[in-house]
């Protein structure tokens, strides 16, 4: 549907995008995720036709779009601040694209009302944008874009101006809308939850480059580098050195002073320094109290046993975070779920604990050059 081939964009010699290649499938919901200034909006503007590539090409429906102005592209954009025309009613805003295409009057009326129904704004057609709430303005912006039946809808941080609850609701509605319409959606966001909740695939970007492309689950569970791992969600990064290869994809390593077993698809050599990445919810912890000093971790996580002391506990409702400092000083964040049977916390600050994780849940990354 949309293909970017070796796209490079420079502003006054400063690279904003470097050699981006990406194919977006028909009907896909793709997110461009990254911090501000990573080039994600520039990428969107290149597809929309508001910028031209310095090098490379943007293909829409297999056709090179170089030199094709925005008004002649089968894409529409939902702008970050909606960019609704303040001097027009909601109806006129939504009808704008169809009028520019010189569609017959009754067809326009039917299409506009249909689009307003779709975003649940019937009855608002005569209002001005200034008379609408932020969420309603957002819906007008979406209706104004989809009424033209674009092949691709570009969304530039469309929900960033909404409050948390409304944002969650709009995420669901957008996803629903995309399924109903079958249009390819390309969403720019810096919010990982938003990208994960809606997208089929996520493109993680940094400094004008693509770090990783994958399903939300792949991005979260198999980050390809430390940057991606740290950008999406909380993560603990442990330092380790490979000791021995004990089987296919199975190694022993010294991690934070403890010998553990590691699983990795990557070829690792002996004495190689590595990072071991673990999400807070990957850990399990067991308290070593005076009565049962040798209370053991369950079998599946017995291959690793980091010793430490509970420092602080943060309550989050369904879960609680435990901050543990290991004997060598490294701090680790562990997320525990409340036990089904009891509503008490399993540990208190000052407790000595043993930490382990399910075998194979760790991500092992060699040091990057």
């Amino acid at each position: 549907m949309v293909t970017l081939a070796g796209v490079t964009k420079q502003y006054n010699g400063h690279p904003a995008l470097v050699d981006i290649s990406l194919t977006v499938a028909d009907g896909e919901f793709l997110s461009l995720l990254g911090p501000s200034g990573c080039g994600k909006t520039t990428l969107l503007r290149l597809i929309g036709g508001f910028e031209r590539c310095t090098k490379g090409s943007v293909l829409i429906d297999g056709r090179d779009t170089d030199g094709v102005p925005p008004e002649r592209r089968a894409v529409n954009t939902v702008f970050q601040n909606y960019a609704l025309f303040p001097h027009m009613t909601v109806f006129d805003n939504v009808a704008f694209g169809l009028r520019m295409a010189n569609r017959p009057r009754d067809e326009i009326a039917a299409a506009v009302n249909g689009a307003l129904d779709l975003v649940q704004l019937h009855g608002m057609a005569a209002r001005r944008p200034a008379e609408l709430s932020g969420g309603q303005q957002q819906r007008v912006a979406i209706a104004r874009a989809i009424v033209n039946k674009p092949r691709v809808l570009l969304l530039d941080e469309p929900l960033s101006a909404l409050d948390h609850r409304l944002r969650k609701q709009m995420q669901k509605e957008l996803k629903q809308l995309q399924r109903t319409l079958g249009i390819t959606f390309i969403l720019v966001t810096h919010d990982q939850d938003e990208a994960f909740a809606m997208s089929d695939r996520v493109v993680v970007m940094q400094q004008g480059r693509i770090e990783q492309i994958g399903s939300p689950r792949e991005i979260y569970e198999e980050p390809v580098n430390l940057y991606v791992a740290r950008f999406v969600g909380d993560i603990n990064v442990l330092a380790g050195v490979i000791r021995e290869k004990i089987g296919p994809n199975l190694y022993t390593a010294l991690v934070e002073g403890v010998t553990v077993q590691l699983r990795s698809d990557r070829p690792l050599s002996l004495a190689q320094p590595v990072y071991i990445l673990l999400r807070p919810e990957d850990f399990r912890l067991a308290v070593e109290d005076a009565a049962t000093p040798a209370r053991e971790l369950p079998g599946t996580i017995r291959h690793a046993g980091l010793k430490g002391t509970v420092r602080r506990i943060f309550y989050h409702g369904a879960t609680y975070d435990v901050e543990v400092s290991l004997e060598n000083g490294t701090r680790i964040q562990v997320t525990e779920f409340f036990d089904e049977d009891s509503d008490t916390l399993s540990c208190t600050p000052g407790d000595r604990v043993t930490l382990g994780w399910h075998e194979g849940w760790e991500v092992v990354l060699p040091h990057e050059e």
């Binding site: 508001f50 025309f85 200034a130």
Partner: protein
């Protein structure tokens, strides 16, 4: 803080006093004189009469008023046509050089407009700069007749009043969110339709303000028509000046003056009402 308010009061008080003494009081005298009768020895004779105003209800005065309105309207239209592209270039120029360009727009204000009108004579007369240049360039065989034509009057009016058009247009254009134009193009409007459907409606307050700021002074700018047009057509401004300085008919001059002020005031009130209405609709 207390000093500040005292200082402020002094400043504002001085301004008010100045305005009252030199604008309001003379104007009230003018209003009073418009109801007086013309005296033989003295300039005016106290009394209460509407004859000065009835005097104005003559075909000649109507023709003159219509001519003035037409002239001012054409001048305003020309200023709009010249000023809009200029203001657009100004508003879209790099932020660094905008103050410089604005300064260039304002510099002419530093010289009295009467003097600048005489300077225009030097440019436009038969052996003036424009004709000399065109002759030397071989574009014309004999000098163009520019002076004492309507063309010269419009050149003078546009030259003098253009900044009053450019500044409000510039201010209006600066407030148009560039993203709205991108949205327009995204929705299929080319540059021309974008301009007509988005830029023009959004800058309408500036267009109206600029038109008023050019139209109203143009009604009264008698000296430009005099100097560059050779006083062939009588305009409201010339008429009022002549009543005072030539015929010494102060009551009639005052009545004409007051009538014109009231007419302008009405226009301003209309403008204000229109702006308030559109302002309500155009809140962000």
């Amino acid at each position: 803080m207390k000093n500040n308010t005292l200082f402020r009061r002094l400043l504002i008080g001085a301004t008010w006093a100045w305005m009252a003494l030199l604008a309001l009081v003379p104007y009230l005298m003018l209003v009073g004189a418009s109801f007086f009768e013309r005296g033989t020895d003295t300039l005016v004779r106290p009394g209460l009469t509407l004859s000065n105003y009835l005097h104005l209800l003559s075909p000649t005065v109507f023709t003159m008023a219509a001519d003035s309105v037409a002239l001012a309207a054409v001048a305003a239209l020309l200023c709009l046509l010249v000023g809009y592209p200029f203001a657009a270039i100004l508003a879209h120029a790099p932020a660094r050089i905008q103050p410089l360009l604005l300064l260039l727009v304002m510099i002419p204000f530093w010289t009295n407009s009467l003097i600048r009108t005489y300077a225009l004579v030097m440019l436009l007369k038969a052996d003036g700069v424009v004709n000399s240049l065109l002759l030397h360039a071989g574009l014309i065989a004999e000098p163009l007749r520019l002076m004492y034509t309507p063309v010269a009057v419009f050149i003078g009016l546009v030259y003098t009043l253009l900044p009053f058009m450019i500044l409000p247009l510039y201010a209006a254009l600066k407030t148009v969110d560039p993203q709205l134009l991108e949205a327009g193009r995204d929705l299929g409007a080319g540059r021309v339709r974008n301009f007509l459907h988005i830029t023009v409606p959004l800058t309408m307050p500036g267009i109206i303000a600029g038109t008023m700021l050019v139209f109203l002074p143009a009604l009264g700018m008698f000296y430009i028509a005099d100097i560059l047009g050779g006083a062939r057509t009588m305009l409201v401004g010339n008429y009022i000046r002549d009543q005072f300085l030539v015929f010494r008919d102060i009551p009639t001059g005052s009545a004409a003056s007051v009538t014109m002020t009231v007419a302008m005031g009405l226009l301003l009130v209309l403008h204000h009402l229109a702006r308030r209405r559109s302002g309500k609709e155009m809140l962000p």
